[in-house]
Symmetry: D2
Subunit: 291 residues, 4 copies
């Protein structure tokens, strides 16, 4: 939460002896002050073969005697030695968040409240919607608003436009803040691990349409929401965060929708926060979240 | 929790004006002291037609000038007028609980601890198991233990024996306290609303075998358990109670099993408690729980 | 959630035989269609003497053959017979909510999002603040904004102005949506059960200033928030709703503030919702909440 | 949960650059296979001065070319260089747990169920109680039971006997599983970080006697339990784990006691589990729990 500049390494590599030692001695050699280290050894799924090692290391930028480019240059041999997938994020470089929304307000209001309070420390270059509903509200915050209607017959053009706007905005992450349209497969594939959705059920229960109605029919005693990365596989992307709330027999579908909104916006905000702080690493169809 | 004798009416009837008035004036005419009244109007599923009205009324036995048989006799015309399904339970008549268990101890220990503390105010005429594992533990509590093995080829005989034991024990309710066998359809059908199971997942997610393993593969962030009435439809009976617990990427399947046990036993105990106090009314495939 | 007009009776009286019968037969005599009935017998605190009976009855307005004035006139003898405190609320008469806020945005944004979505079905005649911070945001929503600074030396005048504005707005309920000033005793006393505060701790833990800092020092593993009626006794008014969230040793005070906001706004919204639907009845220093 | 032998280092030292590097390179030099590493930099309380660094490292025993004594001998210079407090635990060396209990059964049954299932992988050399109540139950499990009555006038002798029994049993940790006596200051002081209590409230709310009654009087909407290390300061020791459960106005004190038991035993089991796996490090009056 404080403002000192940090570089954050997120990386994964095949598990072996000496990974932590190799990485941490790289930083200590350069007097790098590590603020936070998170490590996780993921065993092989079948119990055999080689597991995978995940790490997140947050370093005070001013403790290093060189800049980020030089840090990357010098780290490269270490990463290659360990056969690592890796990247450094710079806290001084605010991430650019593009929000997609339809006609429900709760997630949008919630995100903008957090942004206004600097809790969500991002730039929001634009909000895109298939309805005009929130133009005034968004523009009042000084954020450009783009209306991209999605008709039954011009979906392709509509999503081409969404993609153009995202590129133009140099977006880092796209958040579907109750965007009630299904993104086309090629758009999902273009931004792996960069599109975040909030689904209004406790997945894998109640995939598809009208999950609260499904939950009411089933008579469950808790309902929930799921924040996940969007993949071409609808409602099946890696889960980042989930939560539930208790209901009972007196609750109608409308009540469940109302309660559900509270869970949806909280779970989305929490998942997005983890993502923005580079705390989420994808392992196949699952996530590692270094809370 | 206190020991005064009560009669508890549970009833349902087609919704109309004047139900509460008719029932409550019946009791007040006889100076019946109502300790607790729970009411619920279930709207028609399709929004049309007639809804159904559910109620639970708990009366101090000693406030009425007659006994339970007479109470039933006098209430009958009221019930008929309202076209009611109804019954009275008598707190002086302890319910008889038969426990079925396999080789996992957590639910069994938990139930017997509650029984020993009189929190579970029932008679336990016997415990039935397909293994010998818990004979000593059960018998130490002074409860008869029956070993009924379930072989691949003699299931029919085994379940006939389970049924005979339940009848002989004059069981009111059968609890599957992690009984790892699937009851045959005819046994389920013989005791509707009287067999309670604890399923080790947050249904409807992860039906079938190895739910924790399924949850691990899926990468969910919460796991749960479900207490439900057993019907011929496996894992689909009316849900009485559910709860969840948070897990994360560091948890193995074994960890999830361990955490899950805590939820399982708590959810089973809570659901059973509601059932024993006649707080659960079945409405089709769902329950009304007057907590 | 639906829009049919209802009258809601909330009432309490000394416990005795026949209360429900008397009230429900009054309604059935006039063909009143009861949508929801909630009842609670509060036993005497010392286990002796007479308990108190609480009820909430929601009736379809159009099922009665007369209007609300006539309903009140006819119900009066029943209420007097039972020595009842009572009132009827009319769903067609929207409650008037006045919001007080300082410089934190989360509760204000959350309330206005709910109001904008008609989930919070009230009129908001004005927002009052001791800072100018949210003028633009509030006015954008078409709601008048009053800046009433509270200086060290003119508190009396400031609160006289707050009171004047509340009266002028014909406010029904005043919500302190993270209003960081202590209301004077006489203002609290003027509106019993009509001023709602959100306190940023799980009361009775951490009363007074800087509760998150207190929680951090103490090393608790969960933090919470409390929605309560304001009384002259600071942080001691009847609790309407509470909730908590898990933290751990990695969380700084700033993290706790951030997590806490999510709980604060949710708990406030939930408590306010109960209040607006006349589901909260005060019993001494405690509440009965007919969820 | 699996059975391979591990050594677990828990350590803390003044924060500085290079700690992780120094420790991890020590292990990698000797080909030590690290299964799990947890790290935490605790900033100085006043924001100035030097923080403290905490770590827990779990290594596969068979990956090292020497035994534990040699490991300790070789690690000592590293520890001294870093000015470290440190210890190694050996998973092959089961911890010895002594349970103290009075007349409530829920925590005792729960602990023995977990022990019986090997979830609690400890030796239980004896159970000590100030009542005879559970002798049969404990002895049936093959565990020695000692009745040490605590009279008003012979407390000193009683606690001398408790201490003697704990020493004789070579106890590693003493668990107060609802032991309703206050341990004397000198006994607490003799075993810092080795006596674990379960308190039946969400501390710091409701310290002292009858916390559920206090909670009922206050009208809180959630009740909880706290697992903490015992210090000479009653109910003030470092908190290991807490949890809560929702109650409402219908719940009597007796209901709260019943619900509370479920939280108490779960929170105690969870806290004890962390302790036994050397996941709890004490930092002043607080704990770091490497879950």
């Amino acid at each position: 939460m404080d403002s000192e500049r940090t570089y954050t390494l997120t990386a994964s590599c095949p598990d072996r002896v000496g990974i932590v030692s190799r990485v941490s001695s790289f930083f200590s050699t350069h007097s790098g002050w590590i603020l936070e280290t998170s490590l996780h050894a993921q065993p092989p799924d079948d119990g055999e073969g080689v597991g995978r090692y995940y790490m997140r290391v947050e370093i005070r930028a001013d403790s290093l005697p060189f800049d980020l480019d030089e840090l990357r240059r010098r780290f490269r041999p270490v990463a290659e030695e360990l056969n690592m997938e890796w990247k450094f994020a710079d806290s001084a470089q605010k991430k650019r968040l593009v929000i997609l929304v339809s006609q429900q307000e709760h997630c949008l209001y919630d995100l903008l409240a957090r942004w206004q309070a600097k809790e969500l420390d991002v730039d929001i270059p634009c909000v895109i919607s298939n309805h005009e509903t929130f133009r005034g509200f968004v523009e009042w915050h000084g954020i450009p608003f783009h209306h991209v209607p999605v008709g039954a017959n011009d979906k392709e053009a509509a999503y081409a436009e969404v993609r153009r706007l995202f590129e133009e905005a140099r977006g880092d992450v796209m958040v579907l803040a109750r965007y009630m349209q299904i993104l086309p497969v090629d758009l999902c594939a273009a931004y792996p691990g960069r599109i975040i959705n909030i689904h209004h059920s406790f997945l894998p229960s109640f995939v598809g349409a009208r999950p609260y109605h499904q939950a009411w029919v089933k008579g469950v005693k808790l309902i929930g929401a799921t924040c996940h990365y969007v993949t071409a596989d609808l409602d099946q992307g890696p889960i980042i965060e989930q939560d539930v709330i208790r209901i009972d027999h007196t609750d109608t579908v409308a009540d469940m929708v109302r309660y559900g909104k509270d869970i949806e916006k909280t779970v989305l905000a929490r998942g997005l926060h983890y993502h923005l702080e580079d705390r989420v690493l994808v392992h196949g169809t699952k996530t590692i979240v270094f809370r």
